[in-house]
Amino acid sequence: MESLGVLLTARIDPYLEAELDRRFKLFRLWELPPAQRREFLRENAEAIRAVVGSPALGADAEMIDLLPRLEIVANFGVGLDKVDLRRCRDRGVRVVYTPDVVTDDTADLAIGLAIAAMRRICDSDRYLRDGSWKGKGDYKLTSKFSGKTVGILGLGRIGQAVAKRAEGFGCPICYCSRSEKRHTNYKYYPSVLELAANCQVLVVACPLTEETHHIINREVIDALGPNGVLVNVGRGPHVDECELVSALLDGQLGAAGLDVFEHEPHVPEQLFGLDNVVLVPHIGTDTLETSKAMADLILENLEAHVSNRPLLTPAF
């Protein structure tokens, strides 16, 4: 049986790349300049039966259509917004992804971003490295994290993990989700606007869909207010970024911890001078341990696919 032809869209992870190369026939899309990629896909369409995609570059309708022998898309991550799921379903293409293994890291970072933003950890570090130590009387007092009400948008695996961690700090938890989760004791709000009005730290942890695009709009940001903190470990397009920048510059929003942006890797430069924001480059699952776990899950799913065994983590 011919070796599975696997298209890797981006240079995600050296271990994953090496293993794909060892076990299958690997095609490296990023080695081609963008203008030549369509042609590359056409030339290798007979061989490519699998695509491994990332949050940066997934499998959109055009790519799926260029690959008539495509059988499976493996998404390196739990967010599936860069995979055209409808097209995959229509074409009978299977989709696998990496839930669960990403939960802890993402939740850890959400709390880390909240504390860093509210307690100005990065700003203090930056200040020391600049060679000055602010006199205690001079420094703006920061905002306590313990006991603040944490509102979670999306109470899935990641949202629940955030809640569990925040509870360790004595934070009351509330949430907004597509449906109420009766098995929890957390307060439910049916709209994100009500959630924002009733919490002090709002954490975005839901999937990006048409419905949740710009779900954090100006009205929600204003409801969160000048003492509120926005933490985004979801996707950049969850937030109306222009409005967020303007609110932060005007002092209408207290602080923000952001792992994701609308146009990665570009981050609005107007934020660079602010001491009440933390800006990190989509590192939500970027640990050695989790990257390996994600890669192994992708590899095991592909092996299962070629050996006609059940997929471990199908998306549908």
Binding site: D108, G112, L141, K144, G147
Partner: protein
């Protein structure tokens, strides 16, 4: 002279005299001015010693802010002193033995800082492991579009965390980190049978079985440089040290050497041996997070602190029990 001062104080105002050594935070300053007759040596043209001789002979209460030292010679200059209140939880800057000898009561900030310090310790640990500050610097330098993704960090869950000093702050840190999936062990002056964590009888043993050491104990003669070269070696080259206690808990020169030689994995430091001096070798390291003794500086804390300081002063001046007296029992909070 003393009688004269007190009489003058009574004629001028009903408010008791309170000596300050340094300007306090403005919110505290305001609250104190309304209730006490403040002696502010920094506003006087007189040198400090002469100010005390001229104005503080009758003063019975002293407020210590900013960890200013209180030693024998200072106490000699304040013959009427009977009460010292410090705005810190740590009391290593006050000669407690001398105070006891002279019958001077001491009050500190008790445990009001514990939550904020615990939050900060967790924040520092996540920052070090996940490179939050380092990658924030990377983004602000415009490197993400130019140099690509930031290198991988390390997962917090399943890390073995060793807490040095399981007092009020250490306990709050333990509770928080458990929720992240860390396993907790500790070293303390004595085993605490009521806690579910593993006890180690020495810091070296604790370090050998830990991936992270968090320092949340008091600075005493016994704990000076308790984190020394041997402990760092036991912790190992991937080990992380988080210090929210006192700088001198750590042999700082050794730590810098270990970091430079990559014989330790990283550090989150809120305190240093010779504040405000920070070893400059640390400034270029991405596996280190530095902060300016900041772990207690929240708006909420400052309000509580004012209330506590004033409550302690009121208690002293009306002969009622202090709210947060420093005694042998209090010191055991931290070790």
């Amino acid at each position: 002279m003393a009688l004269g001062s007190e009489a003058q104080g009574r004629r001028g105002t009903e408010r008791p005299q309170l000596l300050l050594l340094r300007p306090p935070l403005s919110v505290l300053h305001e609250a104190l001015s309304a209730r006490f007759q403040l002696l502010r040596p920094w506003e006087s043209p007189l040198p400090f010693d002469r100010f005390l001789a001229a104005h503080a002979a009758g003063v019975r209460a002293l407020l210590v802010t900013g960890l200013a030292s209180v030693d024998g010679p200072l106490l000699d200059a304040l013959p009427a002193l009977r009460f010292i209140v410090t705005t810190s939880s740590g009391v290593n800057h006050i000669d407690l033995a001398e105070c006891a000898r002279r019958g001077i009561a001491v009050a500190n900030a008790g445990t009001i800082f514990s939550l904020d310090v615990a939050d900060y310790a967790v924040g520092l640990l996540i920052d070090v492991l996940r490179r939050v500050s380092a990658s924030d610097r990377y983004v602000r330098r415009g490197l993400w579009p130019r140099a690509g993704d930031y290198p991988l960090g390390s997962k917090l869950g399943s890390k073995r965390v060793g807490i040095v000093g399981l007092g009020s702050i250490g306990s709050e840190i333990a509770k928080r980190l458990e929720a992240f999936g860390c396993s907790i062990s500790y070293f303390s002056r004595s085993r605490k049978p009521q806690v579910p964590y593993t006890y180690f009888p020495s810091v070296g043993d604790l370090a050998a079985e830990s991936d992270v050491l968090v320092l949340s104990c008091a600075l005493t003669e016994e704990t000076y440089h308790i984190i020394n070269r041997d402990v760092m070696s036991a912790l190992g080259k991937d080990g992380i040290i988080i210090n929210v206690g006192r700088g001198a808990l750590v042999d700082e020169a050794e730590l810098v050497k270990h970091l430079m030689q990559r014989e330790i994995g990283g550090a989150g430091l809120d305190v240093f041996e010779h504040e405000p001096a920070v070893p400059e070798e640390l400034f270029c390291m991405d596996n280190v997070v530095l902060s300016a003794h900041f772990s207690v500086e929240t708006l909420e804390m400052s309000t509580e602190l004012c209330q506590l300081v004033i409550a302690n002063l009121n208690a002293f001046f009306s002969n009622r029990p202090l709210l947060t007296p420093v005694s042998a029992r209090t010191r055991s909070y931290y070790s």
